[in-house]
Symmetry: C2
Subunit: 198 residues, 2 copies
């Protein structure tokens, strides 16, 4: 039983999923496959910006995340800087991490840095410090994040998301079935379990 | 314990709430106060159209409603016509119904007509037939829906929604706390119970 977890470091609600999806998947016996992708590219293509120029909806979004975080026992300490990662550098490092098997730890550390320390994990200094704390070589990771291999994997997962009809982050995917939003995680896990052959 | 249910006949996800919120509120001992309002006015003001010009997100929305309806045991038979109620006539009749105490029955009948019979409840003929089936006098109801009293109540609930920071339908309100989306109904009911004094 397998569920793909498409996410973008920079998506606000993805903080909840990055914090809780791994444990919840494990408890349900579902393998979670972490897929960094450029939701920003798809949103631009689809003319679908959820918060830019929408202050009323944006205010609600932070309050909603605060309440949902409290419900799930996830720390929250007010709205962090937004938007972040202008060059999608943190997301390319996440792609490298996914190729090498340390994506969950990296994504969780990047979100802690963003939401709790209020630092943009897409800024090279912040990113270096996150990588060092994870026992990674920052120079080597940043060099690899700039390679064609990593760029092409990031673009390829973005293209897969586009083909699947994804428009937001987080999105959980099982076969051709997609579930958008942290609030669909339970539905997605139930689907993956009920349709294990897909 | 009281929860206000702001909704707009024409909102797709509100079908789920109109179908299930009354029973769920009753089971939780919460009084549900039905509040028709013009989400369309607020969306226009806030430049926040969730689906217009967004075919990828729109396709997902219908599939998501289909799955959620199945989960809740609510009938669903493919996407109905969309958008509907261009003159917000069904919504003004809902406002009349709210003033007179028959809003839940009317809203449920209007949504059944829309989602199951694929008829726009904002079209006068369809509306008349819905009203007749509810034992109401269609001529009288349509005449009253055109009065200043009803128009002003509809505008006044829309203004309250604006002041509360509402941007979508359905929205559940308890005091100054707002919960957007059918998928926040459980959170809203729990909040109303935990903060009964508010």
């Amino acid at each position: 039983m397998r569920l793909e977890f498409f996410f973008f470091i920079g998506s606000t609600y993805s903080y909840l999923s990055v914090s809780r999806a791994a444990d919840l998947a494990r408890a349900n016996g579902v393998e979670l496959v972490w897929r960094p992708f450029s939701v920003r590219t798809l949103m631009r293509e689809q003319n679908n910006s959820p918060f830019v120029g929408k202050p009323v909806k944006t205010r609600y979004m932070w309050r909603d995340i605060e309440r949902r975080a409290a419900r799930f026992g996830i720390p929250f300490d007010g709205a962090p800087p937004y938007p972040i990662d202008p060059d999608e550098l943190a997301n390319r490092v996440a792609t490298l991490a996914a190729l090498e098997g340390w994506c969950p730890r990296f994504a969780q550390a990047a979100y802690r840095s963003w939401f709790l320390d209020k630092q943009d994990p897409g800024q090279p200094e912040t990113l270096r410090s996150i990588l060092a704390r994870l026992g990674k070589d920052p120079d080597q990771c940043l060099a690899r994040a700039a390679t064609d291999e990593v760029r092409s994997e990031y673009a390829s997962q973005t293209a897969r998301a586009r083909d699947l009809g994804v428009f937001g982050s987080p999105t959980f995917v099982h076969g051709s079935e997609i579930f958008w939003g942290d609030d669909r995680l339970d539905d997605a896990l139930a689907w993956a379990k009920a349709n294990a052959a897909a």
